[in-house]
């Protein structure tokens, strides 16, 4: 047996003997693997530590290629080892009960309020909670479509509920991302394990949302209501939207009229009947609540109150998440359900009730009610931190709870030295349906960053959680019967989305044009920069002039001379190469990196509309540019950029349905390509005007090269169907030739088709006439005018909101 194999054989054994395992470990017990982990351990040992480390890297790449980000656009992280649960059935029953309890509690707190009136629940525990939404009291009856909670194990391995997470249950998208990544990294293991699939959960959620439509309409419009780029977990929401098949809608996409909400599409309004609310209640409606006015929709709360709109979850569900309610849950379960509470919670001391927390700060986990909802491990606070926290608690004792810390279970993660234990938390999701609540089999697992970390937030290292089919109660796999109502109709898109799609097309094309142009300049510079007066040098000057006009970045060493006379001007040696490098790699507006950055940022905003292939192409593009530095071979870098953007436009051409989404993306691309070609021709012609005929022809050929049309020119010239002189060919091929996909005429024809597709006859007609003016400047003006009209008619945002109080 080799040394490597010897070590590998020991992976689980070494892990099982570590002194920092929790009292209950998910993988091993008493020094040997738990029986249900047999297959996992077998794979783990067979793979060995090196393969495990490669699995970590592979997971990281898959996530990067998928464009999945965590908070603040940091890359999302997952440990590739799944956590396999064997005791699911009992847990599932407890979770369903918890969901029913949350629903009954919501219904009473926002309805009759018997619990408060009769003192079953102390009124302060609800009314001092900022999440308690008075505006929602007495409104239309709302179902808690989703219930969620964070779970951890106690020392005996029994599950306890650490906190409910009904207001904004982050992780429904991440759970599926994690499953897909792990299933790919450990494909053999995944194939051999009979797991309960996650997808039923999403089918059920989609069906439940559609059922929630107020008028029971046949084909209700449902949207994920999001804060967009202001969302901390936009990636989770985008992924969830894709899984559910509903569009993301931000405040700007929605308008309230006659007490109802409408989605703004091109020129009409579509009724919006249900929202999956990914915006906190406090930010959902700036008219009623004091949150961020830019995120919310004025009138939304009124529409919800009156039952003209349904939300999952309904407004004010944050009150259910309060740790101050935990001590009352056993009583509430008996009161509301007539049952004993199945899943306990750790003991909690509410600071409003008792000062036990204040005197035992170092032994407890502190949970903030409302605010940022902080969870703090008291034992990890320094003395000054402890006293600062104590001041905050004493100022608002009703906003804080102390909770007995649970040891949690440990589970292995792949670390540089082999397997290391981390404490484990599971976020479970329950969704309402015609058969009551059902539970996502598994959920959004997370582990701490170090072995002793007991407070494990949403931003921690994720874990995929596996539940075997053997652990299923058998009655909860209603895949077929849950079926989505079909006939969703083509999704009309909002001005924000239309504008974003056009920006994607524009920046992709812009980056590609720049890379092509820079590539030629770099090439010419290495051959002709030190040979003034040669035709090649003249062409170099002309392309530099085009580059500085198109990028708005000037060539520094040449700033004193007129572009057309550059041949006579002294040139600092190497300044052209320096310029190319600056435009290609500099972090400047107008530079290539900037365009690619804008392309990525815009794509991230409409991730629900993008094909998943797009992310791996963009990931590659981003890596190419980030890894490039002063020593990189620029030709190679630019070549890779051009290639990646070709794949990008290929995906867009081959895998997008020709609907209005496609049309606006295409329009962005077409207008930009036309603008670039116009600029290239205008500037290079002006620059080479006074040059000898030979230099002019050299320049024209270079322009054809930049526009990727030199082969067509040669082929046509050779068989005698095109002009022999490149500068005539240039005009023919790049301007009027509708058969050349790089010509301006071709862009305008495509643009007219885009506008037809988007349903705008008037702009379609305008696009067809864009080549009518004569002269470069007039044509450029016509294109600019068209762009302004396109923006005004299709991308117009709502006016900003001004808050008035008197």
């Amino acid at each position: 047996m080799s040394l490597q194999a010897l070590e590998d054989d020991a992976l689980t054994r070494v892990y099982s003997q570590r002194s920092d395992l929790a009292p209950y470990d998910e993988l091993v017990s008493g020094g040997v693997p738990r029986p249900h982990n047999g297959k996992l351990v077998e794979h783990l040992e067979a793979a060995g530590s090196i393969s495990l480390k490669m699995a970590v890297a592979e997971a990281r790449n898959l996530i990067a290629d998928g464009g999945v980000t965590g908070a603040e656009a940091e890359p999302w992280r997952i440990d590739p080892l799944p956590v396999v649960l064997a005791d699911w059935e009992k847990l599932e029953a407890g979770l369903i009960q918890r969901a029913r309890l949350n629903d009954a509690l919501y219904s009473d707190l926002y309805g009759e309020q018997k619990l408060l009136r009769r003192g079953v629940l102390p009124a302060e525990a609800v009314l001092t909670n900022p999440g308690y939404t008075r505006f929602a009291v007495g409104g239309a009856k709302a179902k808690l479509a989703l219930s969620a909670c964070d779970l951890g194990r106690d020392a005996d391995g029994n599950w306890q509920v650490l906190a409910s997470q009904c207001e904004n249950p982050v992780g429904m998208g991440y759970a599926m991302v994690g499953r897909r990544v792990v299933a790919q990294v450990f494909s053999a293991l995944h194939r051999e394990s009979e797991l309960r699939r996650l997808r039923n959960f999403y089918h059920q959620l989609a069906a439940t949302l559609m059922e929630a439509a107020p008028d029971k309409s046949e084909n209700p419009r449902v949207a994920l209501f999001t804060a967009g780029i202001r969302s901390r977990y936009g990636s989770d929401q985008g992924y969830l939207a894709t899984l559910l098949g509903f569009a993301l809608a931000e405040a700007d996409d929605i308008i309230t009229q006659n007490g109802r909400l409408w989605l703004r599409t091109g020129d009409e309004l579509e009724p919006l009947e249900v929202v999956l609310r990914c915006v906190p209640s406090a930010d959902a409606d700036p008219l009623e609540f004091s949150g961020d006015a830019a995120i919310g929709v004025p009138g939304m709360a009124q529409a919800l109150r009156a039952g003209r709109l349904a939300a999952a979850n309904p407004l004010g569900s944050a009150v259910l998440d309060s740790p101050a309610l935990l001590p009352y849950l056993p009583r509430l379960a008996r009161e509301l359900l007539g049952e004993d509470l199945a899943l306990p919670s750790p003991q909690v001391w509410w600071c409003f009730d008792t000062d036990y927390t204040q005197t035992h700060l170092g032994e407890l986990v502190l949970r903030e009610i409302g605010g940022r909802g902080r969870v703090i491990d008291g034992s990890r606070l320094t003395v000054p931190e402890r006293s600062a926290l104590l001041d905050q608690i004493n100022a608002r004792p009703e906003r804080w709870c102390g909770a007995e810390p649970l040891p949690l279970s440990s589970t292995p993660v792949v670390a540089p030295g082999g397997l290391e234990p981390r404490r484990f938390i599971l976020r479970s999701f329950q969704v309402w349906g015609s058969r009551g609540y059902s539970v996502m089999p598994g959920g959004f697992g997370r582990v701490g960053f170090d072995p002793g970390q007991l407070v494990i937030g949403v931003d921690s290292l994720a874990k995929d959680v596996w539940v075997g089919t053997a652990a299923s109660s058998g009655a909860v796999e209603p895949l077929e019967s849950v079926g989505l109502r079909s006939g969703h109709g083509p999704v009309a898109i909002s001005p924000r989305v239309a504008g974003t799609l056009a920006a994607i097309g524009r920046f992709a094309e812009r980056a590609s044009s720049k890379a092509r142009l820079l590539r030629r300049i770099d090439d010419l510079a290495s051959d002709y920069a030190s040979n003034p007066g040669t035709p090649g040098h003249g062409a170099l000057d002309a392309l530099l002039a085009a580059a500085s006009a198109y990028t708005t970045l000037k060539v520094e060493a040449r700033s004193e001379s007129e572009p057309g006379q550059a041949a006579a001007a002294p040139t600092a040696p190497g300044s052209e190469a320096e310029y190319v490098r600056r435009v290609a790699l500099g972090e400047i507006v107008g530079g290539l990196r900037y365009d690619v950055g804008r392309l990525l940022a815009n794509t991230a905003q409409v991730r629900d509309l993008m094909s998943s292939d797009v992310w791996s192409v963009l990931g590659r593009l981003e890596r190419t540019l980030t890894s490039a530095d002063a020593d990189s071979d620029l030709q190679a870098v630019l070549g890779e950029v051009v290639e990646a953007l070709l794949s990008f436009s290929g995906i867009h051409a081959e895998s997008m349905v020709r609907d209005s989404s496609w049309a606006f993306l295409d329009a962005g691309m077409r207008t930009e390509r036309a603008r670039f070609t116009l600029e290239l021709l205008r500037t290079s012609r002006a620059a080479s005007e006074r040059l000898p005929k030979q230099a002019q022809e050299f320049t024209a050929e270079e322009v054809l090269r930049v526009a990727d049309s030199v082969i067509s020119y040669r082929r046509r010239a050779a068989v005698g169907i095109g002009p022999v002189l490149p500068d005539d060919a240039e005009l023919g091929l790049l301007v009027d030739d509708t058969s050349n996909p790089r010509s301006i005429a071709f862009q305008y024809t495509a643009l007219a088709f885009d506008m037809e597709t988007a349903g705008d006859r008037e702009l379609a007609q305008a696009a067809s006439g864009l080549l009518a003016p004569s002269g470069w400047d007039a044509r450029m003006d016509a294109l600019d005018f068209f762009g302004a009209k396109l923006r005004a008619r299709h991308f117009s945002r709502q006016a900003p909101r001004m808050q008035e109080v008197s």
Partner: protein, 285 residues
Amino acid sequence: MRYKITHSTSYSYDAEVEGCYERACLRPRDTGTQQVLEFSITASPAVGYVETHTDVYGNYSTYLELPGGTQQIEVVSTSVVDVWGAGDDPLTATVAQAAALSDRLDPRELADFTSQSRLVRFSGGLRAYSAPVLAPDRPLAEALEELLANIHRDFDYRKGVTGVGTSVEQVLSCKEGVCQDFAHLFVGACRMAGLAARYVSGYLETDPPPGRAKLRGADATHAWASVWTGERWLDLDPTNNKNADERHITLAWGRDFDDVSPLRGIVMTEAKHSQLKVAVDVEAV
């Protein structure tokens, strides 16, 4: 007394308004000392959509949508209300006894009106100012009277120093403010002493300066405090150092101004500036 109240709020903008959403707390409620006979609300541009419900405190709350297309918005409410003064049965309880008797309230009222709220926060400064006056064993009537007098003595009435988001702590340090600030201060002092207290929004009929005719729009929205005495709610006006009487017309009550602001709105506009004008007429009829 019977009053006809006209309350107009107008905003003008330096750019066109695309649309406007308003939440109004402008319809007076019926109370033990007043009855509302008539109410209407109109707007310019004409109201596009309107809907009224009663909130958790029993106030009328109105949702309004106004179309855009103008640079000016005006909301006008008109009410006719009969008001009679509260009887002044003597208060026999001490501060501590009244606080203890707040358990006679509905638990929800008790929790809301004895706790801190966004604009009424407890602080060392507030305790220092009010605790000696509202000492537990003092007769409630005497203590409240002294608190009214102290606020009237220690704080100057001045417009423009404070705003809709001014905290009690700020009012304590700058020693000036308007009726809303004094009401918050009074309410906060009572709550810190364990008394249930609520913020009342309404109107006050005013007299013109001696020898002058009353000007149109000269009245204003007003605010005062209401304290649970153990038997009933007692309305006190710290701005004017007196009990509220038949010249006080109640619109609504809540924990603080935020719960009952007469009119707040979201206006969709590119405008950078807006100008607010409020005109109130309280006319005895």
